[in-house]
Symmetry: none
Subunit: 199 residues, 4 copies
DNA sequence: AATGAATGAGCCTTCATTCAT
DNA sequence: AATGAATGAAGGCTCATTCAT
């Protein structure tokens, strides 16, 4: 009874909860999960330390909420793109577009991405959410392909792997760490390979 | 002056330093950097808390040493494989072999890999070491290709990207998280793509 | 950002802060600065260890507050005496009175005096406060003399030196360490000398 | 048996013990007793950490030895001056000379003086040594006066008090902390007062 | 619902002292 | 006598969480 986390009904409360999540999002991005303390989150959210525990079970619970926000941010653009897809699919246009989207997403969420991913290993729930995210996207794309009557052998493997490659490349591209790499050249390689996967 | 770290010359001492690193390696793997405390490291290493600071500047310094060990473990098998390479290179054999090695390495160092990578974002030195590792491997492979008279356009980009793909796939393979994925099928995809990169 | 020290506004809090300072005062007196630990201060103040750091930046910050209290204790009686001074000044009364006050002050603050003075050498801020205290008293007395139309050659040097002598004697008197010394005789010597300074 | 402190007979040993004391002297001067650790003392003395405990019971024991050295340094010049004294004593020469000596001693031992004095309050043995030092000087001077047939009323009080004044002034003079003070003027005040004490 | 003061366990690190060699 | 590695208790400080109001 005592430890139940408040389910905010009032608008005011919902907004307050969101402010806490937003503050967590920012701080986890800036200094990581372990570099952030709850007092700081509360201050940034403009609420008291105590009330944070009215909305969240504990610090980790904030993390989970932040993760959900993050996932939505990453998820939605892709889903919307696929929703709008109609036959015939022009892969010469689609693939570069997806890659550009991935890069953009990565750029905007670089730090939080790292902060969250870094916990995927040690925190089961965080890890599970990431897996679920991948599953969701993979399956939804496959479904869409079905609807469009687009037949691919080993579709799930290909989609998933394409996602992996794009993910990996976006990371490289955004971090831009190796001087000797021409990232434009690399990008073209990715485009070709992904196109090749779907013939 | 006061913070000088002991440089162990004696066998006995070197062994003790290694025991501490090993303990750190294990604990960071098991519960992550933030889940580990120095007392625990000392206990697991069979030494006193105090002496840890005789061998290391601070807790983070242990992390750096663990990182070095990890990098060597990952690095060496690949380098040795490339050292033994002679013309003509049979990519049909080499690529699968490299992928198998990557999988094996990943399997053996799964947890520490995550623990260390999770710090790459927040700890500059850790991040820098990972970048240096990638640079090293990429450049050494390119050099080897040169020696073998094997000419590739955009060699560095291809090598680096191949590494990325293999890394990414090994991760997938080892974690084996998605039931709907046939990882053998996926592996063949990777082999084909990497082979395709180098014709 | 993270290290902001709580500024207690409520009565309750101010009282708590004062209790911590008082506890510090006592303990520094009893066992010195280095003989005191923060947990002990907290316990004696009847608060938790943590909250001490809500009111003070660190242990040294407590010391500074203790020092302020001490200085006020020492400072005020003298100032009040000089404030009440009117022409003509009867030095035959004033000097013995000041010496008695100095002795009393010394007696009441013997241990903390030592504890604090002992840090004046190694802690710049503590040293500076002691100097400022001397400056303050010297200058205020000189000013008062001016107001009273009392002209003295080398007033500042004389006032300061008189203070030194009185200080030094009070110390002797309170500690009463040498059996062969008749402190009453010595006191009369001090009275005569100080009177002689101001004719 | 085990805890007996070695009484060094060999020259080598005595020299080593002295080196440790000298190192302690320097370090206590530079960073105070609590700012010094035994490892540092050993290093500066060019000996091993362990052997320090062959010559001294504990860290405080080094302090006591340092104190003895210090006392000798301060004591001897004054004694030698008084030893050479013959009738008739020219106080117009003697007093300024003593004050100059006191200033010089203070200047040369400023830091260690503070470091040691700061412990007199908390460490009984240290305090006792300082008292004994004062007793020694006072009594020896009184005795000398006797030998010289120089009769003074309340000799002990006067001598002791003169010492106090000179001490106090030397401190002021050496630290030179107050801009508004002309220390030459002050010095003349001291000379006059001390001379006045002994007619 | 909200505040923010308060709690106290826990962490990293230092260092006087001991001990194996 | 000597070394310096090793010990482990202790200390300053942080912070997730609770509680009085």
């Amino acid at each position: 009874m005592k430890n139940l986390v408040r389910q905010p009904r009032q608008e005011r409360s919902i907004e307050k909860k969101n402010r806490i999540i937003a503050a967590g999002y920012e701080l986890f991005s800036e200094v990581g999960y372990y570099g952030t303390n709850t007092a700081e989150i509360a201050k940034r959210a403009g609420v008291s330390t105590g009330i944070v525990y009215g909305y969240f079970q504990d610090k980790r619970d904030i993390l989970i909420s932040v993760l959900e926000i993050y996932i939505t941010k990453v998820f939605d653009p892709f889903l919307r793109t696929f929703d709008k897809l109609t036959t015939p699919v022009d892969f010469d246009v689609l693939i570069p577009k997806l890659i550009d989207m991935a890069i953009k997403t990565h750029k905007n969420n670089r730090k939080i991405h790292e902060a969250l991913h870094s916990l995927a290993g040690s925190d089961e729930a965080v890890g599970a959410q990431f897996i679920a995210l991948e599953d969701d996207i993979t399956l939804k794309i496959a479904e869409k392909f079905n609807h469009l009557g687009f037949e691919v052998e080993n579709a799930l493997e290909k989609i998933h792997f394409a996602m992996d490659i794009i993910q990996s490349f976006s990371h490289e591209y955004v971090f831009d760490k190796h001087d000797y790499i021409d990232y434009i050249v690399m990008k073209n390689m990715v485009v070709d390979i992904v196109k090749g996967l779907f013939k």
